[in-house]
Amino acid sequence: MTAIGKVSLRDTVFQRGRSKERSKLLVFNHTVLLLLTAFAVIPLAVLLFNSLKTELDIGQNPLGPPRTIVIENFREAWEEGDFAITMRNSVIYVVATITAELVLGGLAAYALARKRPPGSDLLMLYFLVASTIPVWMYIVPLFVQMRMMKMLGTFHGLIIIYIAGNAPLTIFLLRSYMIDLPSELEDAARVDGANEFQVLTRIVLPLTKPGFLTVGLVVGLGVWNEYTLALTFIHDPNRFPVTTSFAKFVDRFDTNWALTSAGAIIILFPVMVLFLALQRQFIEGLAEGGIKT
């Protein structure tokens, strides 16, 4: 199935003649692409350069690459920001949230996409509306409520808030991936004697993997980069996420751009690597999904 899709894609490229007009278009396209990537990369490059400079070097030479490379910034930022602790905590928040979110969201989305119980349309509207509600809308009452439930300052408390906050978007997106699947495949499995659970785990889940990957990526990035809720609901430094480490530099070392930049790079590095690694799989997955219609 996959192979056919790929071959036909490649064929269409070969069939196209390479006329003069096309090569002109290629030059134009590549120019735009270069400008775009420059726009995307320059802020990140400046951050990287500054993280490798001394404060003095940044003052005299804020734009260019470092004159002498100072690795020391990273060691200092790592210690000042307590990254050993916050990094571990953020991994816990992200992994726990994604796992629970995909399970709960997946079940809900499956029910909405496939079973369509009465009231589905109303629920979809609710999820869409709920996904637009900003944290400031409910943060004060939620604080009071969390205190009453004795979940203030706990890992599971913050994780539950993250799961609930991301659930509407997760369900909304997962449902739209599932609803595109041809139901014949599921019916065929049922005829062959598969029960509902097997239909879900053997047919629906493998086919919607790119959807789960995308949603997992979006939710994971959101949690890794979240700051407001973490600051409100966590008070023990041993439970702080990485964003609080970064905020520390911005607040306390406002003038020290070298440390601030190094802190930013430390936060960005793991997500960038993960994002680049998963992106390939994600786009390949999408390309495979492309023939399913």
Binding site: V41, A108, V140
Partner: protein, 302 residues
Amino acid sequence: MCVAHLNQAASDIFAMTMRQRIVPYLLLLPALVLLLVFNLLPTIATIVESTFVISLRSGERVFAGFANFERIFNDPIFWKSLQVTVVFSLVVNPLQIALSLGLSMLMNQRLPGIGIFRSIYLLPVAVSLNVTAIVWRLLLDKNTGMINGILFNMGIERQPFLHSPDQALWSIILIASWIGVPLWSLFILAGLQNIPPPVLEAAKIDGANAWQSFTRVTLPLLRRVLAFVLVADTVANFLLFAPILLTTQGGPQLSTNLILYETYRRGFLYGDLGASAAMLSVMLLIVFVIVGVELYVLRGSD
């Protein structure tokens, strides 16, 4: 005996349909309970809170009806903030959606090295809004910023950007789009990859030019993705917060005081939670209206 058999069969069928009816709700239950307790209830609590004030005489929380709403509706700062938000939205949304659509189509082409371009182009999506705001504050600095360095080398005067009432909002638009455009492209790109190439081939064989195949084939097939992107984009920009907090804090002269920042300023900096709750309620209502109108305009058969 025959009747008993039938009865048995009937109750079996009944049990089966009951189960089939209940199962979907059981699947939905965990997510709905979490949403109800940790999202919907506190949101409603804020709306209720908007009808209370802290009495100056007794310090107690007393019911005040629409007093908070009257207060904010008579407040020029609130109206100014709404006006800034509308101007911002009218510029940033069409800009981001047009750019995301155009650039996703560019990124979806089979060009040499396109994979690398795509990876780099999408990279800002992974960067947090906090870090983004800080980096752009550096880049847009009047004396040491890179943008002004480039302008200066081109013989253009140094610009104040975030420190000028005329330029700050445009600078915020730039910052928001640095993440926004690749983010929405991610979704549109996914939609484009889902269009089977034979469909576009067929259009070509039928004599459609590039514009026709874009408007007649690509756009209709992207409708659901675009509807989602449009709604999500307008809401995200309407509720933009972190970059304001970390760069201009609403200034200079309230020129970047977007509505969500104003509710934060009023409630959490000035401690006027009643007015803040009233503003949040009004804001939520506006968001619902926007989403409703967009969904109505984009409504389709499914």
